[in-house]
Symmetry: C2
Subunit: 149 residues, 2 copies
Amino acid sequence: MATTVEFRQMLRGAALRVTRPRVAVLSAVHAHPHADTESIISAVRGDLPKVSHQAVYDSLRALTEAGLVRRIQPAGSVARYEARVGDNHHHIVCRSCGTIADADCATGEAPCMTASDDGGFSIDEAEVIYWGLCPACSTAHRSSSANLA
Amino acid sequence: MATTVEFRQMLRGAALRVTRPRVAVLSAVHAHPHADTESIISAVRGDLPKVSHQAVYDSLRALTEAGLVRRIQPAGSVARYEARVGDNHHHIVCRSCGTIADADCATGEAPCMTASDDGGFSIDEAEVIYWGLCPACSTAHRSSSANLA
DNA sequence: TCCTTTTCTTGAACGAGTCAAGTGTTTGCA
DNA sequence: TGCAAACACTTGACTCGTTCAAGAAAAGGA
């Protein structure tokens, strides 16, 4: 867990002004990976009870554009944020409860980076989302299926 | 391009009631791949001027659940639909204009289907989204960069 | 410390999508 | 073909994540 001083340095290193809301947002994203905006607002208000939701939205956008956090948004979900940036990891999303887990890509490094036919597009990122059931929902689903049988 | 009769058969084959809105929605999705809901509503109203948006939403849900259409939703986009189902193709999304193109997966069949560490999840689908610039935006972007230099 | 620029607060607004109640259609069956 | 039940559609209101806008506050360089 990084310290406040480190968060401030991260902001300065990204040429962003150091403000209390931004430090708190950056800290919250580090502390709660894959949290949605509302959860981040709650976490931030643990430190700064009076921050506006707009400040959090603005901070998240600034941090995302600066590359300090990464925004992910699986289909049907609200925006979520994580602090693990710069590597090529992907996500596993539970269809039942929406839980998100990290996953390193199967074949090592950027396996899907090149489409077989890119249609003339210049591709800069390949995003992989695995869909399935988390361990808890998987168990629940199996037992409910058993009950039906 | 499939005929109305074929669309009706597709609906019946999926155990769905055959209604004019559903046939029109299915037809519209076939005619306009990657269209968003509003575009589909417009297309449907070319045939049936009085359909409600709710009917289109309901139809799209029914068709999606029946597997006759596929719903895609890249981060930051509204829901889009396509009729190409049953294969393992992915999508290329233009960061600038939002255009979506189809892409067959790089290494043939389901290359990313297995995460190296699935965290105990039972995975049933791997969705790949390539991000980049479409040919038109790529050209525009290059020339504007040149102007800046 | 002062000034400029950026960021935050406040409060309203937007828009894709959903909910709910009632009406209209489709379909299976007599 | 006609009927009944189930399902789908219309209408209209509503939710909620997110954005917009104007003015107040704060950060950082001079």
